[in-house]
């Protein structure tokens, strides 16, 4: 582009350039995030139909409407998988956030040098990929290798971390281990943004550390808690890598253990991509509804409090 009038910057509206800067991002965003959704919705409305006697004829892809959805929603194991991740989330998310909040508040009481080291230690697991974390914890769960089992065995306990009743909570432990430090850091960031004057005012009013924590810090880190809670809900619904890796050593983890696993095995083990697409769409919708629902619940509560 050559402009003959070089010294007329006012005339060339700079605001129009906004789209030039936005275009590269928007192009990939549309292609790799938005388009797949519509493609999945389209695929979820197809099915393979076999004609001829015994269904041995030429397979043909035909329009199926909402048939895949109704079949998926009638699969007991698929519905149960939602129940399982929901139960998982109801326990795991509060435990993790409580741990994150407690650690953040406690770190606020120690000298900076210690706090920095501790913070980094708690945050470290976030840098370890979920599947590698699962491989590591898997070794710590398996009798024979696990030092935890050795120590508990010496004390007379025989824990079965991978049994039917426990495996869900063993996975919860892995997820807490991975993300508690990350969530703690978000809360710490919010704590740091609280103006110092508030603390001084509280001290003049005679507030102790407990009162300061409950009356000032926790209410003020609420936005961070809401944020971490939403991300945790979305993450819980998508639970996938941890159970998939544990499947090898824990027979309790079935192919329908979580909704995501169920969709994955439909696509790659049962070669039914149309059903897999329908299940992905259902999962995405449920995750969105839950996170938006939680957000509006929080907002309504906030409004009524004012």
């Amino acid at each position: 582009m050559t402009t003959p009038l070089k010294r007329a910057p006012r005339k060339s509206r700079p605001d129009r350039k906004a789209w030039t800067f936005l275009a590269p991002f928007l192009a990939v965003y549309l292609f790799a995030m938005i388009l797949p959704i519509f493609y999945a919705i389209y695929q979820s409305m197809l099915k393979v139909e076999r004609s001829g006697p015994l269904g041995l004829g030429e397979p043909k892809v035909v329009f199926a409407g909402f048939e895949n959805y109704s079949v998926a929603l009638q699969q007991t194991t698929f519905i149960e998988s939602f129940g399982r991740v929901l139960l998982f989330g109801i326990v795991q998310v509060p435990v993790m956030l409580l741990l994150a909040l407690t650690l953040a508040l406690l770190l606020d009481q120690v000298s900076n040098r210690w706090a920095g080291l501790m913070r980094a230690t708690y945050f470290l697991p976030y840098g370890i990929p979920g599947v590698i974390a699962t491989i590591l914890w898997g070794f710590l769960y398996v009798p024979g290798v696990s030092p935890i089992n050795d120590v508990l065995g010496d004390m007379g306990f025989q824990p079965d971390f991978l049994g039917y009743d426990n495996v869900l909570w063993s996975i919860a432990n892995i997820v807490i281990w991975e993300f508690a430090g990350y969530n703690m850091l978000i809360i710490v960031a919010q704590l740091k943004s609280i103006p110092q004057e508030l603390y001084e005012a509280a001290k003049i009013d005679g507030a102790g550390p407990w009162q300061t924590a409950f009356r000032i810090k926790i209410p003020l880190v609420r936005p961070a808690l809401v944020l971490t809670c939403v991300f945790s809900i979305i993450g819980t619904m998508q639970l996938f890598a941890e159970p998939l890796v544990l499947r090898k050593i824990a027979p309790a983890v079935t192919n329908d253990f979580t909704p995501n696993l169920s969709a994955y095995f439909d696509a790659f083990a049962n070669a039914n991509v149309y059903m897999a697409a329908a299940k992905s769409v259902i999962l995405a919708v449920v995750a969105m509804v839950l996170s938006f629902g939680f957000l509006s619940l929080v907002n309504r509560k906030q409004r009524s409090e004012r």
């Binding site: 906004a18 840098g127 960031a189 936005p223 969105m288």
Partner: protein, 307 residues
């Protein structure tokens, strides 16, 4: 920055963390029971978070046999270098290939994601145009999209386009970071003054030049954060490469190690190689986490303060 206040005179455990650490008199405080409980809780938490990593360090030095026969939390005839040599040479140096792939996916993906986010965030922060808020909301919706639920639809689409089992299949989705755009917008709003942009325009600089020479530099702290987050996000990703790639020479480390782990039923020494491979991939990242800690903090503050 708050000027250091009168926290020195605290009688309780009220040492709020100001910019400078205020060293208070240690004597009476060190012995308070509350203080001991505090330190104990923090230490127990640290042990919990370090346990698997500590186990990994010990296990990486053991032979396959002593992995099962010796106590997991202490050394037994260490042979770390021998083990690592085996990890790297096994199956025609496939581990090295995986490591390079991981670096390629995460490195290139994160650089491109950062640049795209910076440009988009800057545009949303500093230009006035019709549809600006609509675009921003549209991008924000992407933050709430469940990314693993998207991997399967992406696979269906990419297989139609013939893109599966290529490097592109993992790279293209990796350069999108709606959260990065959000963070860059918020940061640019406060860190890029309009007066500087105006001055550069008066001097005749074109918008592209202003962006690449001035704006990017002013946004550096936010860009480092976006880069780190995206790097870790891609590095940790498992579902996307799992569905996209079938050729094990294109695998990232995560996928490769799981393959080894699953094959260890048939090839017992792969158990030790899985542990060695995990050790090699975890240690550099752990060091990076510790060193780059302050960048994570600044970025998250930027992200959550505006909530």
């Amino acid at each position: 920055m708050s000027a250091t206040t009168t926290t020195t005179s605290t009688t309780g455990e009220q040492t709020t963390p100001p910019a400078k650490p205020v060293r208070t008199a240690k004597g009476p405080r060190a012995l308070r029971p509350g203080r001991i409980v505090l330190v104990a809780v923090l230490t127990v938490a640290a042990l919990y978070f370090l346990l698997p990593v500590y186990w990994l360090v010990i296990a990486a030095t053991k032979s396959n046999a002593s992995l099962y026969s010796s106590f997991g939390l202490w050394f037994d005839a260490p042979q770390l270098l021998h083990n690592l040599g085996k990890v790297f040479s096994y199956d025609n140096h496939v581990y090295l290939q995986w490591a390079l792939n991981s670096l390629l996916y995460a490195g290139v993906g994160a650089v491109l994601a950062t640049l795209l986010s910076a440009a988009a965030g800057f545009a949303l922060a500093k230009y006035r145009f019709a549809g600006r808020e609509a675009v921003f909301k549209f991008v924000l919706a992407g933050v709430l999209l469940p990314s693993t639920a998207l991997a399967l639809p992406l696979y269906l689409m990419f297989s139609k386009l013939g893109l599966t089992n290529t490097y592109w299949a993992v790279l293209i989705p990796s350069v999108v970071s709606p959260f990065g755009v959000y963070l860059c917008r918020i940061y640019a709003e406060s860190a890029v003054p309009d007066t500087v942009l105006e001055a550069a325009r008066v001097d005749g600089a074109r918008e592209e030049r202003i962006f690449f020479t001035l704006v990017l530099r002013m946004m550096t702290p936010a860009l480092v954060t976006v880069f780190l987050f995206q790097f870790v996000h891609i590095w940790n990703n498992y579902f996307l490469p799992l569905v996209m790639l079938s050729d094990d020479r294109k695998y990232p480390i995560t996928l490769g190690l799981v393959t080894w782990k699953e094959a260890s039923d048939r090839v017992p020494e792969l158990t030790q190689y899985t542990i060695g491979g995990a050790f090699v991939s975890v240690i550099p990242l752990a060091i990076a986490m510790l060193v780059l800690q302050r960048y994570w903090r600044t970025g998250l503050t930027e992200g959550s303060v505006k909530e």
